[in-house]
Symmetry: C3
Subunit: 271 residues, 3 copies
Amino acid sequence: MHDPAEQAADNLHMVRERTPLVHNITNFVAMNYIANALLAAGASPVMAHAAEEAAEMAGLADALALNIGTLSPEWIAAMIQAGRAAADRNHPVVLDPVGAGATSFRTASARKILQEAPVRIIRGNPSEVLSLRGGGSKTKGVDTIHSVDEAAEAARILARELGITLAVTGPVDLVTDGDRLVRIRNGHPLMARVTGAGCTATALIAAFAAVEPDPVSAAASALAFFDLAGEKAAQTASAPGSFMIALLDALYTLTPEDLRRGAKIDLEKRL
Amino acid sequence: MHDPAEQAADNLHMVRERTPLVHNITNFVAMNYIANALLAAGASPVMAHAAEEAAEMAGLADALALNIGTLSPEWIAAMIQAGRAAADRNHPVVLDPVGAGATSFRTASARKILQEAPVRIIRGNPSEVLSLRGGGSKTKGVDTIHSVDEAAEAARILARELGITLAVTGPVDLVTDGDRLVRIRNGHPLMARVTGAGCTATALIAAFAAVEPDPVSAAASALAFFDLAGEKAAQTASAPGSFMIALLDALYTLTPEDLRRGAKIDLEKRL
Amino acid sequence: MHDPAEQAADNLHMVRERTPLVHNITNFVAMNYIANALLAAGASPVMAHAAEEAAEMAGLADALALNIGTLSPEWIAAMIQAGRAAADRNHPVVLDPVGAGATSFRTASARKILQEAPVRIIRGNPSEVLSLRGGGSKTKGVDTIHSVDEAAEAARILARELGITLAVTGPVDLVTDGDRLVRIRNGHPLMARVTGAGCTATALIAAFAAVEPDPVSAAASALAFFDLAGEKAAQTASAPGSFMIALLDALYTLTPEDLRRGAKIDLEKRL
C-alpha cells in the first residue's frame, strides 16, 4: 500500500470508470438509501434475496454486500448461497453484522454466515465486530475497551484469528487485516443521525472491493470517501434531513482529486 | 395532567436526554422515514421482525411500535410475541392499525393483536380506529360520523370499552383514555402528502411513551411535537419532497421551548 | 388519440380530480419513493402483498401496479391473485418486469404473471421487455438492437404478439400497442441516478390508466408527465440527492398547462 490518499483517489476513479454492479442482500430500512448512494458514487446496485436467484445474481454482479439488519432465516440461507457463488468467481463478499451482540439470533446468524460463506471484509461498529470472537479468542470483549487504541488492538487480533479484513467504524474508523492497521480520521457527527449510514458504508466498501483486490485499501478508500462526503455535506446542511440528501449529492460530486487532498488515512507500519 | 404544552416540552426534553430505544415492527414503505424521524427527534430506532428475535429485541428496547401497513401472518405472530415481551417489562406498546376497516385481513389482524398483546396506545385515522369496535360496542361507526365532535365522542366511548388510550389523527388530533380528552390543533396539510406520516407519528408516540408513563400525555406531546415540526417545515418548503426533508430537519431543530410556546393542546375537563 | 400533449394535460387533470387509489405489489427498494411520487402527483398509494388480502385490496383500488424488483415466490402468487381481481373489475394492471432477462427466476416469473393475470401495460427497459418474447417470436432479441428505431420495431411486433401495450423507457421513451407507436422525448439523465425511477414511472402509468381507458394514451401521458417533472427538477438540482427530492416537488407543482406546453409526444400514424 503506497500513499493511502493517492490510492483512495485511484480507487474512486476506478469505481467511476467501471461502475461495478453490487449485489446487496440487505435490510429493508436502508435498501433505498444504499441503492441511491451506490448510484451517486458511480456504482450500480441490485437487490435480490430469493433463494431461487440469489446465487445466479451474485454470479452476475461484481461484488456482494450482506447485511443482517432485518434478517429472517430464509434470508440467511440466501446470503450463504450468494456468498459462495460470489467467492467461486473470486468476487469480494462484505458482511455487515448489524446488531450482532444485541440478540442471540443476530450473533448466531453472523457467525453462521462467516462459517459457511467466504467473507473478505466485515464492516461494523466495535460491539458488532467484537461479538464475532470465538470461544478461545484472545480478543478483548467490547465492554473492556475504553479507547480507540484498545479497539484497534482488539480488531487486529480478531482479524488475524478470523483471517478477514475488519473495518470498525466510529468517530475514528479502523481497518485492519491483522497485520496492517489503518485509521481514517474523516467524517461528521451528523452521519450518525442518518439511518443506514453504516450499511451504506458497507455497500460502498463492496463497490471499492470490486475494483481493488487489496481489502485493506478497498475498505480504507471507501470509508475515507464516504466520510469526506459527510464533511462536504455538513458544509451546506446542519440537520439530518437535508444532510442525508446533501450526502448523496456529495457522493456524486466529490472527485478523486478532492479525495486525494482531503482523505486523512494513516497507515501504521507493520508490527 | 398539568399545563399540556408545558408537559409536552418536558416530555421532549426527556426524549432528548434518555434517547429511548424504540423497537419497530412496521411496514416496508415507512421504515426508512420512521427510523430517520426517530433519530432526528433524539430517540433511537431498531427494526426486527423475525420470530427468532422479536421478543428478545422487545426486551432490550424501551418501547414497541407495531404497524400493520404491509402485514403478513408471520409478522403478526412476531408482533404478538414482541408485544407480550414488552408488556412483561412494563414497556409501552403502541399499535398502528393501518388499513383496518379496509380489508378483512387487516381488521382481523388488528383485533388479534389487541386481544393477544397488551397494547397501551392505538394511533390511527378515524376509520381505522373505529373499525376496532367489537360486536356489542356502543361506539358509532365511522360512516355515521360527520364532525370532530362526533369523532371525539366515539373515540371516548371506544377507549373506555377497550381500556386503551386512543390517538385519532386528522386535521385536529384527538387523544383520549375514555375519561380525559385532548385536542391538538397543530399541523399542516402537506403532512398528508408524505407517505408514512401517520406511521411516523405512531413511532414518535412510542418514543414519548418510553419516557412518560401517562399515555394521554405521551401521545398528546408526541403529536403536538410532530405537528409543530410540520408547521415549521412548511415555513421553508411548499411541495412534498422538500417538505418531507424539512420535516426531518424540524424534528431535530425544534426545542422544548419552541414546543412550550407553539403547542396548541386543549384538555377537556373530566366528565 | 387526438393531440397527445393535449390529452396528457387532460389525463393529468383527471388524476388530480379523481385521486385514483393505486394498489402496488412492488419491490422493497422503491416502495417509499413510489408512494411519495403517487401522493405528489395527486393519486393515492396502497401497498399490500399478503395472499390473505391481495385480491381484496385490488378490488378496492382503481389500478394495480405489479413489480418484480425484489421478488419471492409467495409475492408472485399474490400478484397473480391481485391481477385477476383487478381485471375482473376491468381495472388496469401494469407490470414492471424488473430484471427479466437477467436471472432465469425473473424471466420465468414475469412470464408466469403474464400468462396468469390479464396485464394491460408492461413498462420496462428494452432488455427487460424484449426478454418476454416467446419461443416462436418474430421479435428481435435485445442484443441485436442498435438504435431506437430497431427497438421501436421490436416493441411493436412484441406488443402485437402479446396483445399488450408496451412502454419501453430510455433516453427516448416508446409506447406501442402493436399498431400505434408513440415516442416521448422528455426527460433528464439524472433520472437514471435515482433508484426506482423506472418503478415510479410504472406506478404513475397505473394511476393514469385508472382514469384513461386507452392504454397508449395513459402510458404516454404518464411518461411525458414524469419526464417533464425530471426536466423541471434539473432546473434547480444538479446532483442525485437533491434531484430526487426536486422531482417529487415537480410531480406536485407541474400543472396540466405545463404538460400541454412541455410534452414532446410524437404519434406515428398507423401502419
